[in-house]
Amino acid sequence: MTGDVKSAIAARAAQELRPGEIVNLGIGIPNLIPGLLGGGTDVFLHTENGLLGVGPRPSEEELDPDLIDAAKRPVTALPGAAYFDSAQSFAMIRGGHIDVAVLGALQVSISGDIANWAVPGKDVLGVGGAMDLVVGARRVIVTMTSTSSTGEPKIVRECTYPLTARGVADVVVTELAVFRFREGALVLTELLDDATVDEVRAATGAPFDVDLEDRRAA
């Protein structure tokens, strides 16, 4: 996956965010979004290690060892930012106070199940806040390439990887398409980068409805 593909997915996902929303960004593609938001003042970024109001990356002079995001990268804090402890931070998440979580996934099922923390047969030793975020956030936007590095479709009938949570995905953005979950059904709503419906079908491991009229956020 080239940086261009990642950036394109991040850019399309960024269009799903509405001004003033409280947004939590996962590691990987979602973390490219702040660079695309033009200062990040449009939405308010929450990071689960205890900060609402994440600002841009620090300059050399701004670097502060006490100021990181959940990916453990140095960040800054915008005026009006607030710090809080981890119980409060996850109370925000679990309690439905985060408008949007944008995160990567290994698999998404046609029921909206997400698997994004563990690979069978490998270590299942790091979950972090993944489960809390997909269960708690009001909207869950998954950003991922349509297929794995070995060419397997990531949208599947049933997740075969360990589940993060059931029925929680609202939107999936890949390099080819935007999918939405509507009344429990997976719907292709937008083709990206000149992709065709057939190309999307080839890269998708499950049936889906097509309703390209929905370009709400385009």
């Binding site: 929450h46 005026p79 109370a91 106070h97 408008d99």
Partner: protein
């Protein structure tokens, strides 16, 4: 969501409250109670059949005591009705329903409501009148009561200071239930003593981050 645009008028703020709603109201007695908002609710709203979640039901004719006299309270959820003799009389006359909750359970249940916790086990109240009808379970020989969260349609809270985004800072013992209630309602309206620019409150000392606050109203 943070505040979209500056403070609104108290009358406009309380128009978010409809008949039949559950309304949380901060304060320990009248200390830390959002008196401007309560007055607006008493004077310029006709929402009735309200369920009030508040540690007390005001004092006679003051704070929530005004709403009580207007007969607009259907039910109170509280730890101490006794501080308003008129509330006690109204309960005894069958005019309002009373749900009495130990104060720590009351606070914890509101916190749970805001934190997505669907229930918690507390030793407090086990084996007493206040656990009647509640599930009890014994763990390591100690009896616990399973308490459920408390949610509301609207929370009315008071903070000495708010900033433009809706971050709140509470002064001294006027904090009490306010930060908890701010998390547990569909709509949270904060009455503040003053509004300062974003960035003026120390970020480590913000008690209620703005994501919990929907509207700001200035105290009168």
């Amino acid at each position: 969501m943070p505040i979209a645009s500056g403070p609104i008028e108290p009358d406009e703020a309380v128009s978010a409250i409809s008949s039949g709603d559950t309304v949380m109201v901060g304060g320990f007695g009248l200390v830390g109670a959002p008196l401007t908002l309560i007055d607006a609710l008493a004077e310029s709203s006709d929402a009735d059949e309200l369920t009030i979640v508040s540690n007390n039901i005001g004092e006679p004719g003051r704070g929530l005591g005004k709403l009580l006299r207007q007969g607009r309270i259907k039910r109170g959820i509280s730890s101490y009705f006794t501080s308003n003799p008129e509330a006690v009389a109204a309960v005894n006359a069958g005019e309002i329903e009373a749900t009495l909750v130990p104060q720590g359970t009351f606070a914890e249940a509101i916190r749970a409501g805001g934190a997505g916790i669907a229930g918690f086990l507390t030793p407090v109240g086990a084996g007493t009148l206040l656990a009647e009808g509640k599930e009890e379970r014994v763990i390591d020989g100690v009896p616990y009561v399973l308490e459920r969260p408390i949610h509301a349609d609207v929370a009315l809270v008071y903070a000495a200071r708010g900033d433009e985004l809706g971050n709140l800072w509470y002064r001294r013992t006027a904090r009490n239930f306010n930060p908890l209630m701010a998390t547990a309602a569909r709509v949270t309206i904060a009455e503040v003593g003053e509004i300062v620019p974003a960035g003026e409150l120390e970020p480590e000392s913000i008690h209620t981050p703005h994501l919990y606050v929907d509207e700001l109203v200035l105290s009168r």
